[in-house]
């Protein structure tokens, strides 16, 4: 039986370079980490301990707070990025005269160093000397209240985590805005014109045209920023070190601390736990958006 072989124009050879790089530098270490997560590893030496690291990890008093905080941080940052990103995108593709300028201003923080941003906001949010609390105190005085500003990064509750999340949104909303602007640009202008002929208002436009048609962009923003939020570490580390105490610790920072302490096996087990945690949360989100995308 002979079959005429037609060469597929989309040759798999094009995948080979990244395939090799990804395999060696990402997949191999990841798979190796599954093994080392079951060892007691000093970097100098290892000993197989089965699931002991995982058991130990779940006993860690600050771990439950890690799960909760990670989830809060992911939801808050991705949620706010969607809301503000879409609002800014609509504003900046609209009638605004200064849109070129504002686009630049909103996007620029995306480009600067996370550590630098963290240090800068730590100064702005300093409870005594920071500009934000000094404004609050000055304002309080002007209306006759003797008041202290909140301890944005030091209060013994969830405030520090939210403060960092807000800085994260500040830094990342420009990216969401750009993705939404690209999404908005793919909506044919005729749709709006047709709706205008039918007498639809601004709200109808948003609800019936913009929101459904911008869904691929929404999916990209939600998934990217959710993943980023769940794995987020740099900013939290630069601003609070997971503190005060363990109150703003997320799984990634807990893992890093195990690593710092030299518990390499335990830290690697933490990596595996974070991986599973993220997959459990992102899986359904990803599936949801994929399904909707296929339907539309």
């Amino acid at each position: 039986m002979t079959k005429k072989k037609i060469k597929n124009p989309y040759s798999y050879a094009l995948v080979v370079p990244i395939g090799i790089i990804f395999f060696i530098f990402f997949l191999v270490p990841t798979f190796v980490s599954f093994f080392f997560s079951m060892t007691r590893w000093t970097l100098f030496d290892w000993e197989f301990v089965g699931f002991e690291n995982f058991v130990q990890y779940f006993k860690e008093a600050s771990l439950s707070i890690g799960f909760k905080n990670t989830l809060i941080y992911g939801v808050v940052t991705s949620g706010l990025k969607v809301v503000f990103g879409l609002a800014l995108a609509i504003l900046l593709t609209g009638r605004l005269r200064a849109k070129g300028f504002l686009r630049s201003v909103v996007y620029f923080p995306v480009l600067v160093s996370t550590i630098g941003v963290g240090f800068t906001f730590s100064v702005l949010l300093d409870p005594n000397y920071g500009a934000i609390n000094r404004s609050i105190v000055a304002f309080g005085k002007s209306i006759g209240w003797e008041t202290y500003g909140p301890g944005w990064l030091t209060d013994p509750n969830l405030l520090p985590l939210f403060s960092v999340a807000l800085v994260d949104v500040w830094k990342g909303v420009g990216m969401a805005t750009v993705i939404f602007m690209a999404g908005l640009a793919t909506i044919p202008q005729e749709y709006y014109e047709a709706l205008a002929v039918d007498g639809g208002g601004a709200w109808d436009k948003f609800r019936n045209i913009t929101l459904p048609l911008v869904r691929p962009a929404t999916a990209a923003v939600v998934i990217l920023s959710f993943i980023g939020g769940l794995r987020s570490f740099d900013l939290i580390w630069a601003m609070t070190n997971g503190g005060p105490g363990f109150l703003s610790d997320v799984i990634a920072s807990i893992n890093y601390k195990q690593y710092q302490a030299g518990f390499y096996g335990l830290a690697t087990a933490g990596n595996v736990i974070l991986l599973l945690f993220v997959l459990i949360i992102i899986g359904p989100v990803y599936w949801f958006f994929n399904k909707k995308e296929k339907q539309s």
Binding site: A13, R40, T42, L43, F44, D45, E47, Q56, K59, E60, A61, S62, D126, P127, N128, Y148, G151, L153, T154, D155, P156, N241, G242, G243, P244, G245, F246, L247, K257, Y259, Q260, A261, G262, F263, L266
Partner: protein, 431 residues
């Protein structure tokens, strides 16, 4: 396909030009060059620079390059990673005691037991840099004491006496608070500073339970179980409940806290005397306003200071410059090197652990206060020098106590659990 390969080569060519061309630091021509890793604390830098200058002068043709590392947990990790990956400098200075034990010394470090210069070192230092009978390091600098730094002007103004018991201490605090001054300074922005009340209490713990260190190492004694050991946690809680901390203690830095105690904005700062050189740098005019006393105990008869044994200087096993490194390390045990260290103001703050070495007579007042305890022989090494176990999360757990998030007893139990990981990692028996 051919074309693709061609393009591949075209792309690879400029890459290969750049690869291998990492930019190197300019270096002076010298016969022998060795590198020395130190932490980036200011007084550490000052002393190291002085030592290097003196050594290079005495040994022309030798160049020593200082490499800085961060302190705290970041530094611990860096040192371990460097050793594990064979990237360690020729000589490095790092904590002795439990942190030293975590470096797997017998695998990673050069044994110095039989080096001729070891006879310069007091044998009482050796245990904190040894595994079994093998010695791996020499002492760097002097011992320091942990306790309470206090402002003498505040004490004079309110006519207070230096306390020896916790009850006296609290009575003082009450008066200080009434005078509108912060009784106790805490600086949780630099998390490590939260530990002093617990760590510096060890003299008192040991006085109450002489076998604590050994039992603790053998998993028989716990902070949550031992009443004397638990006191350190309770002190922090008690002060919080009475609102005795400076209002902004959650965001105060170590440097700010030193300013506060020097300027009398706060009366007490639990800290070790390694802070003295930094106070001398930050507030030279107020240096003599700062005094030191040992952490108060529950009994008047118990009054002594918890001591931090000096760091060690080590040589990694795989260095290519072993001979030059040994020569330099050996020189650091000499009387000449001690003179150089003494010439850096405020650096020497206790005994040297080097035979015949003495500290200068003109000492800052706080250091003189410390030396009195040494003269009375009322000292005990901190737990981390007599037990290999120190959990990594103590500083954070204590911050939770100080902020009122976790009660003392629960926090002590959490720390006991934290320690288990360390003990297992070290492969200790009975865990």
């Amino acid at each position: 396909m051919k074309k693709m390969i061609k393009r591949g080569i075209a792309l690879a060519l400029p890459l290969s030009l750049v690869f291998g061309a990492t930019v190197a630091a300019p270096s002076q021509a010298a016969d022998t060059e060795i590198t020395w890793l130190i932490d980036n604390g200011q007084s550490m830098q000052d002393v190291s620079k002085a030592l290097v200058a003196a050594y290079e002068k005495a040994n022309p043709g030798t160049k020593i390059t200082l490499v800085l590392r961060p302190g705290g947990a970041d530094g611990d990790n860096l040192v371990k990673t460097k050793l594990a990956t064979g990237e360690m400098e020729d000589v490095f200075t790092y904590n002795s005691g439990s942190l030293f034990q975590a470096l797997a010394p017998s695998k990673n470090l050069l044994e110095l037991t039989n080096e001729p210069f070891m006879k310069n070192v007091l044998s009482s230092f050796n245990p904190v840099v040894s595994v079994g009978k093998k010695v791996y390091g020499i002492p760097f600098g002097t011992a320091v004491g942990g306790g309470i730094l206090y402002n003498k002007k505040v004490y004079a103004k309110l006519k207070l006496k230096v306390p020896t018991t916790w009850a006296e201490f609290m009575a003082n605090n009450k008066k200080i608070k009434a005078a509108g001054i912060d009784p106790v300074i805490q600086s949780y922005k630099d998390t490590w500073t939260s530990q002093l009340f617990v760590l510096a209490d060890f003299y008192n713990v040991q006085a109450a339970s002489p076998n604590f260190a050994a039992d603790y190492t053998n998993n028989k004694e716990k902070y949550a179980k031992n009443k004397a050991a638990l006191r350190g946690f309770e002190y922090i809680e008690e002060l919080k409940k009475l609102n005795y901390y400076n209002r902004d203690y959650a965001s105060t830095t170590y440097a700010q806290a030193l300013d506060k105690v020097a300027l009398g904005q706060g009366a007490h700062y639990p800290m070790a005397t390694w802070a003295i050189p930094q106070i001398a740098a930050q507030q030279p005019a107020s240096l003599e306003d700062v005094g030191f006393f040992a952490q108060p105990s529950s009994k008047a008869s118990v009054n002594g200071v918890t001591v931090w044994v000096p760091s060690g200087t080590y040589i990694p096993a795989n260095t290519k410059n072993a001979a030059a490194a040994k020569k330099f390390v050996g020189w650091m045990t000499s009387a000449k090197a001690v003179d150089v260290m003494n010439s850096v103001e405020g650096f020497a703050g206790g005994p040297y652990y080097i035979k015949g070495a003495t500290i200068p007579n003109a000492l800052p007042g706080a250091v003189k206060d410390l030396v009195k305890y040494f003269d009375k022989n009322a000292t005990a090494p901190a737990l981390e020098f007599v037990s290999p176990i120190k959990g990594p999360n103590l500083e954070k757990i204590l911050i939770e106590v100080g902020l009122g998030i976790t009660p003392a007893k629960k926090a002590a139990a959490a720390y006991d659990a934290d320690v288990v990981k360390q003990a297992k990692q070290l492969g200790l028996k009975g865990w």
